[in-house]
Subunit: 230 residues, 4 copies
C-alpha cells in the first residue's frame, strides 16, 4: 500500500480569505466588505505581492486538514517536529496491530537481497509482537519490538504559512524520500484548492532562485512543476 493523502477540510475560498485579511491592514474598509468585494484578478496580484516580499502572516488565515494513511512512523516522527500544526495520530497503545504492515523504502524494494531481509524481518517482528501479547505483555510495550517502518495514520492541520515553510524544508532533495513524497502530495492538493497562495512553493532553489545549504545537492529544481513531477 502506498501513501494516501486526502484533504478532509479546508478554509472555503482560501485565496480570497487571505487577500481580504491582508487588505484590511492597508485599508479603511471593513474586513467583511473586503471579503465580498475583491475581484479574482486583484486577489491574485495582491497575494503575489505578499509572497514576493515575504509578508506571509496573512497566509495563516487559510487552513488545511489532511488525512494521511500508509505512512511510516519514521516519517511521522519527522512530521510532528513541525510545531505550528495540529496532529491526531493512530495510537499503538490503544489499537492492536493486526497485520504486518510496513513502508518499504525504494532503496530496499529495488534491492532483492535487502528486500528479502526486510520482508522477513517485518513478518518476524510482527510475530514476536503477537507472541508477547499472547504472553501477557500490554500492546503499548509489545510494540517496542515493531520496526520504525511500521505503518501509521495521522490527521494533520496546517495553515498556508506553515505549509510554505514545510514545503521549503521537506521538498528539498536533502530531505528524506518519504516526507518529500508526503509533501508533494500535499502541495499538489493545496495548489488545486488555493492556486494563488501556492503558485510558487518549494525549496529555496525554486522560491528564491538560490540554495543556502552549506553542501548543496548539486541539482537544483528549476520550477514547481519539476518538484511535483518527480
Amino acid at each position: 500500500m502506498a501513501i494516501s493523502v486526502l484533504l478532509v477540510a479546508s478554509t472555503p475560498e482560501p485565496d480570497r480569505t487571505v487577500a481580504a485579511a491582508a487588505r484590511l491592514c492597508y485599508s479603511d474598509a471593513s474586513a467583511g466588505d473586503l471579503v465580498g468585494k475583491m475581484k479574482g484578478e486583484d486577489i491574485s496580484r495582491f497575494i503575489d505581492h505578499l509572497r514576493g516580499s515575504g509578508h506571509l502572516s496573512p497566509f495563516e488565515h487559510a487552513v488545511f486538514t489532511f488525512a494521511v494513511d500508509g505512512i511510516s512512523r519514521v516519517c511521522t516522527h519527522q512530521l510532528v517536529r513541525h510545531r505550528l500544526a495540529s496532529y491526531s495520530q493512530q495510537s499503538q497503545r490503544y489499537v492492536e496491530m493486526k497485520d504486518p504492515e510496513a513502508v518499504v523504502p525504494p532503496s530496499i524494494s529495488s534491492n532483492p537481497a535487502a528486500r528479502e531481509i526486510f520482508d522477513r524481518k517485518i513478518r518476524e517482528s510482527h510475530e514476536a509482537y503477537k507472541d508477547m501479547i499472547a504472553a501477557g505483555i500490554p500492546r503499548e510495550d509489545a510494540r517496542y519490538i515493531l520496526p520504525h517502518g511500521w505503518m501509521t495514520k495521522i490527521v494533520v492541520t496546517m495553515n498556508a504559512r506553515e505549509l510554505h515553510h514545510f514545503f521549503s524544508m521537506r521538498l528539498c532533495r536533502r530531505a528524506q524520500w518519504e516526507i518529500r513524497c508526503l509533501a508533494r502530495e500535499m502541495l499538489a492538493i493545496v495548489r488545486d484548492k488555493a492556486p494563488c497562495l501556492f503558485s510558487l512553493a518549494g525549496p529555496d532553489c525554486v522560491v528564491r532562485g538560490r540554495c543556502f545549504e552549506n553542501r548543496p545537492c548539486g541539482s537544483p529544481f528549476s520550477n514547481v512543476d519539476e518538484v511535483l513531477s518527480e
Copy 2:
C-alpha cells in the same frame, strides 16, 4: 458604533471533522472513512467525552476566522496576547485616521461628567493628530497622540481548542468588559456553527463548576446561556 463580529470563514462541518480526527487515534479505520461514516449522534457523544476529560487536542482541527470592527486598541492589545492564533490588523502606519472614532466604555457613557470630558478629548486629540500631520509629522508618529480607545479593525483566526481557552479567560467576570463583549459575540457565532464543540464553554464556574481564582468575583455564572445573555 458598536463592536461587529463576522465569521468570514471556518472549517466546514467542524463537529464532524474533529470527531473523525479523534476517532482515528483509537481505530483501525482510515481517517477518510471516518469522516464520511460517523453519525450525528456518535459525533455528539464522542465530542462530549473528549471535552469532559480535557482531551482537547483534536479540537485544533476546527478553525474559525472572524472579522472584527469597532473594537478599541485597548482590546486588541489584550487580544493579540493570545499567541496560538493569527491576526491581521488595520495599520495606523499606512491608514490615515480620518474621523474621530473611539470606543466609549459604558462606565463613561453612563456618567455625564466623564462623558463630556471623554468626547471632548477624543475630538481634540484627533485635531492634534491632523495638525501634526499638517505640520509634516508622519502618520505613524502623529498617532502617538491618539487615545488608547481609538477604533481599529482586526481579522482573527483561532482553532476550537484555543477558543475554549480564550473563552475560559475572557468570559470570566474579572476580564474587562470590552474583551468579554468580543468573546460573547464569538461564542454565540461558533456555538451556532459547531454546536457539539461549544455546547459547554466559558469560565471555570461554568465549565468546571468551580472558581480557581484567589479572589473570586462572588457571582459565578450557572450556565452558558447566562454568560451569553449578559
Copy 3:
C-alpha cells in the same frame, strides 16, 4: 542502560526571575529594580499566589534545558508532541547505529518468555540493519527495520509553564511508564533548582485535588512526594 537526565542549562535564579516579572504587572517599579529587591519570602508567597489562581504566564520566563540519554524512540515520539518546547535529537540519518541498544519495558524484563523473544529480536534486527547497510542501503533507509524501542538521545528546552502542563499530562498514571519515568526525573531536577515554581506540580489529583478523566485510574496520588518516589 537506564534513562539519564541531566540539566545542562537553566535560567539562573528562576524563582526570582518569575516573581520579578509577575510583580511588574501590578507595580510602578521597573523590572530591573524588582529583580534585585524582592526577598525570598515575598518570592515564595507571590509565586504560590500565581500558581493557585492559574496565572502561569510569568512562569514562561524560567527556562530549563535537559540532556536525555537512554530513552526509546517510542518515548521521544510522544515527547516531541509537546510543541511549546525545543528539541535537538540524535539523527538516525547521519549517525550509524553501531550496537544493539533498546529500552526494555519492565513488563518485558520481568517476563522471562517475553524477555527472551525481545532480546533475540533486538539482536536480529540490528544484524538485519547491518546486513542491509553492507548491501548498499543508506542508513536512513536501513533503520526502517530497527525496532521502536531503539535508544536515542535528545536535548529538550521547556519553560516552567509548559513543564507544569507536561507534568500534569505525563505524571498521570494513565501515561505510559517510560515518559512518566522521564517526567519524574525532570520534576526532581527542577524542584531542586526552582523550589517555589515547582513546590506543587503533577497530575490533577495532586494539583487540583481531583481527577477529570472519564475513566480515572482509581488510585490517585496524594502529594508530589508520592509521585516522585514511585
Copy 4:
C-alpha cells in the same frame, strides 16, 4: 526618559549550549559529554555552519530575558505580535498612571510646532484621566483617553532563533523607529553575551546580502556594526 533595556536573565554559556545540542544530532556522544568537551574554536565554527545553512532550530536552546522600561504602548503592541516569546507587561488596569509620561517620536521632538501640540495634549489627556477617575470611572476605563504613546514596562523572553527573526524584521529600515531602537539595544546586549550566535544578525541586506522587499528602502546596511551604530 529614554528606552532602557536590561538583560535580567539568560542561558549561561549560550554559545556552548547551542553548539552541544546541535552536535548531538550528528554524533554518537551523549549531550552531557558534548557540553563539557567542545572547544571555543569548534563552537564558533560549528555555529557559523548552522547559521549559514539556516539550520536554526538548535538556537532555540539559548534563551534571553530582557526588562524594558520607557517604551510606548505603540511599540509594545507591535512587539507582542511576535508570538514565539513570553511577555509580562505593566497593567493599566491595576496600576494607576500617576504622572504624564509618553514617548516622544523624534519627528515630533525636532519639530517645535508639533512638539508644543504634543506636550500639551499629553498633559491634558493625563488631566482628563485623573478627572475621570475622580468622577468615579475605574482606571481600566479612564485609560481609554490616554494616548498611544503612553509609557509602559515589559519583560520579554525570547530564544536566539526568534531573536534572529525579530532582528531581521525589526532592524530593517522599513520598521518603525521605536521598535528598531528596542531591537538595536537587544542586539547589542546579546552579541556581548553570545558572540557566536549573533556574530551575524539583522535585516536581509546584512544577513543574506540582498533585500526581498517589493519596495526596498534604497539604502541597505553593509554590516552589523552599521546597523548598531545608527
